[in-house]
Every structure is written in structure tokens, then in C-alpha cells.
């Protein structure tokens, strides 16, 4: 009965649908058309409602407009969008050049081999962000493999010659949640949405979410059954991130693992116990551990790599994919104790 009421109330909201009489509604019920979906799908509506085809089509069109929430473009469009600074000069220049500055609502991804310094770069971004905007904005670090190092943060802040109070307030602005599995990651983001929409102010200041590393929580899904589960959760996660990004203007930077597959073909000795022997579709051909779908989630993906084996501190940040502009370009960064510069 509730569904019927639903259709009735929806019809009442439309201009043409309002004119349907009680008799028409009874006829609909008789034809077992109780939901919006059934109404839209029903054939020959005009015949038994004794209305013209045009009229029925008009009602359908209006019903669709009512049922699908639409947002006016002008609400989304900001005339002068606010851009954050990453605090890394070269990086900012590169972003400027490719036309994707660091803005609220962006979802970025960082690829790299293990040990290349992804975590270091994410730590640096967190520190730079709170140093600049600590009065009104905070950072959330979602840690899936316990790589968050408060001491490193402390050291970076100390290298900036801040006084003790400033360091303390910066460190208070970096929040950490340890998520041991994909599910808990989803739960954490879900909680965030709930808290934000219920008007809880405690986390309203969080404007940047760093996830390190996404691959680590999905690496465990190995059997066929679990891989499907993993994909489902990955989709859910993508949806949650998009929601947070669109509705609350939260920017995401995600650390992801890439594997060296370039010399995999000749890697035929007996100790080849890692990914190459696996038949999983997530096995990296292009270095992406999370499958093709994931490629489409992020608005910008970057690779972090070592350009020159003789110089251990230099790193190359290369744009892999950019959904808002040119997807070419790179910049050189240096890894130091004070973070990435």
C-alpha cells in the first residue's frame, strides 16, 4: 500500500499527473501498477486510462523529473574556485601546467613501487596542508598498514622551525584512523558521511583525506570468491569517496602500489613466488593492482619513480592520467628529512 501511496504522491507533484482523477488511480491499481517503475514501464497506459498518448508521455516525463534529483549547474559551478597549495613548489608548477590545481573534491592517486617514498610524500602533503590551513582545515590519514609515523610528522614540523605550540596545533590537526581491512575503510568513510550529514561539527573541518595504502587492504583477496568481494568493496569505496568529494568538498589523495612488471617475462627462476604466477585479473599488466575499473575513479593519477639509480634522493613524479587536461608532464622532487621538496 505504501508503494501505491508513493506513486500517488509522486503523481500529485507533477503538473499533468495532478489532473488524474481518483478513478484513474483505481484503474492503475486494478492493472497492478503500484510503483513508479511499473508506471514508467507499463505499455498501453493510454488505452485503459482513456487518455491521449501525448498526455501519458507528458506524465511520464514529469514523473522522471520528480523522481530523479537534479542539481542546477549554477549550484555546482564556482566562479572562482578555491585552490589549495600542495606546498611543494615544483609540484604546484606541474599542476598548474596540466590544468589541474589541488582543489576541494579532487580524487588523486599516487602510484609507485614499495619503498619509493609514497608514504613520505603523503606525510609531506599532510604536513604542508596543516601548516597552511590549520586554523580552519584538518587532515584525516586513513592508515591501512600502520605506516603512519607520528615521529616523521614531528620531525618535518621541527625542520620548519616552528615553535612548540605551533607544532602541537599542527599535530592536532592531523587525524589518524587505523583501518585493518577494506571493510573497516568503508566503515570509516561511511561514518564520516553520516556524521557530516547529521551536522556533527567535530569532523566538519576535515577537508583532505589521505589513504595509505589502498592496495594493502585489497591484496588479501585472493580466492575467486574473495576477488569478487574485493571488487564490490572497491566499488562501494569509490562511491563513498565520490559522495564525500562532491557533497562536502573533501579532497582525496590515495597511495597505491605498482609492481615492476617490466622484467617479469624473463623472471623464470624458481623463486618467482609473487604476483606473476597468479591468474588474477588484478594482476598488474600496467602496474595497477586494483583492476581496470579503478582507473576511472580518480581524476588524476601520478607515478612516483626513481629516475636515476645513482642518485638516491631524487624522485620523478610523472602524470599518468588526467581527466581534466593534458596527461603528460613530470617534475623532479627531492626526498629529505624535512619531507619531499
Amino acid at each position: 500500500m505504501a508503494a501505491k501511496e508513493d506513486l500517488k504522491s509522486l503523481l500529485a507533484q507533477t503538473r499533468t499527473g495532478k489532473q488524474l482523477s481518483e478513478y484513474h488511480l483505481k484503474l492503475l491499481k486494478k492493472q497492478k501498477i503500484n510503483t513508479l517503475h511499473e508506471f514508467l514501464d507499463a505499455q498501453n497506459l493510454h488505452k485503459f486510462l482513456a487518455l491521449s498518448i501525448d498526455q501519458v508521455e507528458q506524465i511520464k516525463r514529469e514523473l522522471l523529473l520528480v523522481s530523479v534529483k537534479s542539481i542546477k549547474f549554477s549550484n555546482l559551478y564556482q566562479k572562482q574556485p578555491f585552490s589549495y597549495s600542495t606546498g611543494i613548489e615544483e609540484f604546484d608548477k606541474l599542476l598548474e601546467a596540466i590544468g589541474q590545481p589541488f582543489r576541494p573534491g579532487r580524487i588523486w592517486e599516487l602510484y609507485g613501487e614499495s619503498g619509493v617514498g609514497k608514504t613520505q610524500l603523503l606525510h609531506t602533503l599532510a604536513v604542508n596542508f596543516v601548516c597552511k590551513y590549520r586554523d580552519c582545515r584538518q587532515v584525516l590519514f586513513l592508515d591501512t598498514k600502520r605506516d603512519f609515523d607520528s615521529r616523521r610528522i614531528h620531525q618535518m614540523l621541527q625542520d620548519r622551525h616552528l615553535d612548540t605550540d605551533a607544532i602541537k596545533s599542527c599535530m592536532r590537526a592531523i587525524n589518524v584512523i587505523i583501518c585493518a581491512s577494506a571493510e573497516s575503510l568503508i566503515k570509516a568513510l561511511n561514518n564520516m558521511i553520516e556524521q557530516l550529514s547529521s551536522g556533527d561539527d567535530s569532523i566538519a573541518q576535515i577537508k583532505l583525506v589521505l589513504i595509505d595504502s589502498l592496495a594493502a587492504s585489497f591484496i588479501f583477496f585472493r580466492s575467486a570468491h574473495e576477488r569478487n568481494m574485493g571488487r564490490r568493496w572497491l566499488n562501494q569505496l569509490a562511491m563513498l569517496m565520490r559522495t564525500l568529494a562532491a557533497q562536502h568538498g573533501i579532497a582525496f589523495v590515495i597511495g597505491n602500489l605498482s609492481m615492476t612488471s617490466e622484467d617479469g617475462a624473463v623472471d623464470d627462476d624458481d623463486d618467482n613466488e609473487d604476483y606473476l604466477t597468479q591468474c588474477s585479473p588484478e594482476a598488474p599488466e600496467d602496474g595497477n593492482l586494483l583492476g581496470d575499473y579503478w582507473d576511472s575513479v580518480c581524476t588524476l593519477s601520478m607515478a612516483f619513480e626513481l629516475p636515476d639509480e645513482s642518485n638516491n634522493d631524487l624522485r620523478l613524479l610523472r602524470i599518468l592520467n588526467n581527466s581534466f587536461g593534458i596527461s603528460e608532464g613530470s617534475c623532479l622532487l627531492r626526498i629529505t628529512d624535512a619531507g619531499v621538496i
Binding site: N175, S184, N312
Partner: protein, 261 residues
Amino acid sequence: MFKNIKMLEYCHKHCQDIKAMETSDSLFNLRQNIKTDVQELDEYLGGGIAIGRVTEFVGLSGTGKTQMCLQLSLNVQIPKQFSGLEGKALYIDTRGDFNPARLQELAIDLEKRFLHKALGFKSSTMMQNVYYQNCPSSAELFACIVNLNRYLNSNPSIKLILVDSLAFSIRMLENVRDRTNLLMELHALIHQVLCHHNVAVVLTNELGFYRSRRKWKLRSTLGEKHTHLINERIWLTENGNYVGKTLKFRKLVTSINANCG
């Protein structure tokens, strides 16, 4: 043998609960470390092996991995007034390599260092505080790690878990796929243990030669996924100690090997 899906699902079930949000400031004040007694290494690591993380020692045989493990199992017991943890250690041995006599020697050395300063910090009590578990096969290692949660519940003073050597027992399996499966499940279990208990996990790993592009290269064993899942890797070599995940990225920390002769 290890295609046991149920086990992993069990892990997921227990990892669902998320921890509350903490600020890095409070984490900074809570951090605890176990000294390695290699000064530069301790400085780099911010006071030693960090509680709540997975640290791996890697090196060719004879470079002092086992020695380091033995030393750590004693250093975790340093009394609180000397900024130690006053905890206990669980030594999981896969190679049957554990040498109690060597441990005793090290314990007596440590006792001498704290002579007249810490009463009751005796080598005999130190020996009692190192629990030993022999796991000669990978199945036993797996069983041991599965039971770790329960074991730690009944022995909450254990602060350090050593697995010497992880590579040895994993590489006992013939099938490569089984190896990776087992390794991933072990990692999932270790993660779960770290979630519920305040312990440090130390693993040891071996180096092996790999052929890539017709050249032989030295690399740590167990593959890239494993590399990604550990938090810190420390390389023990004859020239010194390095820190870093791979050979390419490693960084020299100590130039002379201070700990191991």
C-alpha cells in the same frame, strides 16, 4: 593445505571494528620503541623498533640476523626507569637455530651494563622472560600465528614477537601459489594481532639471487607484495646497515657493522 578461505574470512570478521580517530599528537606521545643497540639505527628509527609495526631484518647468512633477534628479545626487557618497556618476548623459531647459550651470554652482558643501577634485572630472569616456540614446518608456523591472539590475551606483558626466519618456512612449500597464499594469510593475521595488542613484530628474511634481463641481481626473497606489507626493512651487510624497502632505494645508516662481528 592452505587454500582455506574460511580462515581469511575469520580474519576479516575480526578486523571489522575500526579504531577511533586519533590525532598524530596523541600518537606521538604514545609511541614506544625497543632499542637495537646500534646507535645510528636507533636514531634513524626514532629510538628503535617501533611497537605496533612490522620490522624486517634481511641479510645474507652470517650477517647477524639471529643475533639481532636475540638482542632485541633482551632489550625489550630493560626496566622502565631506563626508558625501556619492561616487556617480554616471544621467539618463534622456524629453523631450529635458537641457541640458549648465546642468549645467556648476551643476557650476562646486558646485566653487566645495568650493574648497580637496576636491582633485580638479572640474566636468569631475562632468560625466563623470553618465550620460545619451535615451528619447524610452515603448518606449525601458521597454527602458531593463528593462536597468537589468544596467547597474547593470556600473556599481556609480551611486547615483542620475533619470527626467525619467515622466509625459511615459507620457502619450504613447493608450490609458488601456496607460498603466496600462506604469506598473505600470515600478513592478515599479523595485522589483526597488531590491531588488538600493543606489540612489535620482527621478521627475518633472506636474500636471494634473481635473474632479470639475463643478469643476476640480489634481492630480498618473498616477493613484492610482502615488501609492501611490512613497515620497515633493515639490511644487515658486512659494510654496514641499510634501511629501505628495496636494494634500489636503500640508504646507508651505519657504515661499520657495530653489532655483529
